[in-house]
Symmetry: C2
Subunit: 101 residues, 2 copies
DNA sequence: TCGATAGTTCGATATTTTTCGAACTTTGGC
DNA sequence: GCCAAAGTTCGAAAAATATCGAACTATCGA
């Protein structure tokens, strides 16, 4: 398996973060990871085909928002809280507390 | 001139805001408006054709980030600071203090 | 009234994203 | 070794965005 490019904390670009969060499904993933701590891709997929789910996780990973670790045959995803907070203080807490309507 | 749809503060959707800010040119516009207070479209265009500039201002307007007021033949644009702060506390200050590298 | 200036709108093309099936990889269990 | 489970990758097609010229609108000044 080729290794996914994970930007270092200082390399996280705010445009990429914004783009990643502009999709409702990805935003939902981020919010759930914030609550659940870690989760497999499958645990968060909402009836979507796995290639689509994989695509969205990749966007989040490449933007620097999540980290993925292998646990046997499954991958556990987690928010990169400290990294994001260090790079963009306040952003995550704003995203997580923002409510619709 | 048809009236541009401006979402009310409570109607501002975070996905739309993120999408609007995911473009480097639009992000730059927001940052400059934060510093300059008000500016015409032309003052912020960077050699782009005016139809493109107009498009980007429209995306910002429809996302709820800026407000445009007519002043004679020109339009003055301003950040909707209070509205954004009320709707998503911390977001704007995070955007404005985030620096590249 | 005639320009000139500042934007907007329209339409067409180009670029980027999204979506999803099929084939492939990796790991664990039998 | 073989099979199932969990993802990834590839490729193609669909959808959304961006770009830009041309025509149009509104306002100010001479």
């Amino acid at each position: 398996m080729r290794h996914a490019r994970l930007p270092a904390s200082e390399e996280i670009a705010i445009e990429d973060v914004f783009h990643a969060l502009s999709d409702p499904f990805r935003l939902e993933i981020v919010r759930r990871l914030a609550v659940e701590g870690e989760a497999s891709c499958q645990a968060l997929e909402g009836d979507r085909p796995k290639s689509s789910v994989s695509h969205h996780f990749r966007v989040l990973r490449e933007a620097g928002l999540i980290r993925t670790r292998n646990e046997g045959a499954t991958r556990m995803n987690a928010l990169r809280r400290e990294d994001i907070d260090r790079r963009f203080p306040g952003l995550l807490s704003c995203v997580l507390s923002a409510r619709n309507s």
